[in-house]
């Protein structure tokens, strides 16, 4: 399947984010298309998570635009932005589970807030999604009673329970043991294929696990796009980018 046949869902034009006078992201142009999984890689602190947060406008860019299905997010009023965000699912780096409600309520929350289905249906779908990630038994527990890996899976369930058109994953395997990490990436691919026309974006350092899951890679170095394409096209990439993929992150990258 060639990339060009797939509709562009999200486009960033000249996206720049300044933090304390420093440009954390600088003139970033990317396209996210339907039916593809994009992996965003790069050295730590290069701006990957910030890029992910600008997509649903959790961070407001200093310059540039984010265009969702043809609509510039900056032009939307608050209500419109809330509606636009319903197309997204977001897996946060630190799970961001609501610690004052049970696991089941956490996963059902987006459905209840969205109002597309009634309460009984929301609970049914939440339970089904929890079963998909293997945590059906954890439904009545509170997040603080779970291990890191379990919390990650609950967060994954919550991110995908509303069958989002655009799924964003911020460092899904951070702090997890190798077995759980592989499981998480497999689940991400499963969710992606289950939803028609879904676009998934994964930010991670875990190149080896991203390879079987991602169709395309974007490398962010020093806040700029250093590479955008499939791994097969890496030959034309600068040495720093190739070093990322070969696991030699420190070598050749000026620190």
């Amino acid at each position: 399947m060639t990339d060009l046949s797939h509709r562009v869902r999200l486009r960033c034009e000249g996206l720049s984010v300044d933090y304390r006078g420093r440009a954390v992201l600088d003139a970033v142009d990317v396209e996210i298309r339907a039916n593809e999984v994009v992996g965003i890689v790069g050295p730590g602190g290069a701006g990957k998570s910030i890029l992910l947060k600008t997509l649903p406008r959790l961070i407001v860019p200093t310059r540039g635009r984010v265009i969702l299905d043809g609509t510039d997010l900056a032009t939307l009023p608050r209500v419109g932005l809330a509606a636009a965000r319903e197309s997204f699912g977001y897996l946060f780096q630190n799970y961001a589970l609501f610690d004052f409600m049970t696991v089941l309520d956490n996963v059902a929350f987006p459905l209840r807030q969205g109002g597309q289905c009634d309460d009984a249906e929301a609970i049914r779908r939440a339970e089904a999604r929890l079963a998909d990630v293997g945590l059906a038994r954890a439904a009545p527990q509170f997040p603080r009673e779970l291990s890191g890996g379990m919390k990650k899976r609950v967060a994954l369930a919550r991110a995908t329970v509303a069958d989002p058109q655009i799924a964003l994953y911020d460092d899904p395997s951070a702090g997890l043991d190798p077995v759980t990490s592989s499981r998480i990436f497999k689940l991400i691919r499963q969710m992606h294929e289950r939803i028609p026309d879904c676009a998934s974006v994964i930010v991670s350092h875990d190149i080896d696990r991203m390879r079987p899951v991602c169709d395309r890679f974007i490398a962010i170095v020093d806040g700029r796009v250093a590479f955008d394409g499939r791994e097969a096209d890496l030959g034309r990439a600068p040495p720093t980018v190739r070093a990322i993929f070969e696991g030699g992150l420190v070598a050749g990258v000026a620190l």
Partner: protein, 270 residues
């Protein structure tokens, strides 16, 4: 050389102006953000976009769980006040008959609302800021936004409604405890009979109105200011601590300023 000197002097005076103006600029920015939060909260409440269950839960947190704290602090205040005043009065004119009446009036119109307000600002102000602040730091507030839940409607509005009601009730509780404590000291140390002390002679409807207005104003101001501090948290655990600190300072200060404004207005109206 002379041109260079000119440039540096210009830059120096520009810097002095900047450093003088900066606190005013940042204060102005802070107040405008606060004003926006007040407006957004008022809109959310007016539109009924809040959860009744959340209001009840917050009412319990803010009200019921503050009762021991209020009881102790206002009880001690009652003790101190009666003790000090009676000692003074005993030296000037040994007539204790009006002490109780004057005490209750002062409690109702000034000290109970304000000290209760300060205690709520301390306990609830830092509590709300710490709660919301740690939610910000663990990205739960971002997660709320992603799930189509507006943080103002979901977090701030229930706390504001609950607080407005509860601070008034806590003030009443405070009056009761302070009066009770004062009454005991009056009898125990100065022999003032209970009936003489418990005189509502001087306390008029105006005093009650002033007290309630103050309590209501504090009850609305404290959660909004504290939520503002919480929502503006940045930077991990240090940020949460700092949010709690600035919440206590800002809410306490707001209580004192509001106290002054309402007292002055009440005085001018009389």
């Amino acid at each position: 050389m002379a041109l260079h000197a000119l440039n540096t002097t210009h830059r120096a005076s520009g810097n002095i102006l900047a450093s003088l103006g900066r606190p005013f600029l940042s204060a102005g920015r802070f107040l405008s953000e606060l004003g926006r939060l007040f407006r957004d909260t008022a809109v959310a409440i007016a539109r009924g976009r809040f959860s009744g269950a959340a209001v009840i839960k917050q009412a319990y947190e803010i009200g019921n769980r503050s009762v021991p704290f209020i009881a102790i602090t206002l009880g001690v205040l009652g003790l101190i006040s009666v003790y000090q005043v009676a000692t003074q009065v005993a030296q000037i004119i040994p007539d204790f008959s009006m002490i109780g009446a004057a005490f209750i009036q002062m409690m109702v119109r000034e000290f109970a609302p304000t000290i209760t307000g300060l205690m709520v600002a301390t306990r609830v102000g830092s509590g709300i800021a710490a709660e919301i602040g740690s939610m910000v730091v663990t990205e739960q507030v971002d997660a709320l936004r992603m799930c189509n839940a507006d943080p103002v409607e979901y977090l701030v509005a229930p706390r504001t409604i609950a607080s407005a009601v509860m601070v008034v009730m806590l003030t009443a509780v405070g009056v009761v405890f302070a009066t009770f404590a004062g009454m005991l000291v009056g009898k125990g140390a100065f022999g003032i009979p209970y009936n003489t002390f418990l005189s509502l002679q001087l306390t008029g409807i105006g005093d009650v109105a002033i007290g309630v207005t103050k309590a209501l104003s504090y009850g609305i101001a404290i959660p909004v200011i504290a939520s503002q501090a919480g929502l503006a948290t940045t930077g991990g655990s240090a940020g949460v601590g700092w949010a709690a600190t600035s919440a206590v300072v800002n809410t306490s200060f707001a209580v004192i300023v509001i106290d002054f404004v309402i007292s002055a207005l009440a005085f001018l109206v009389h």
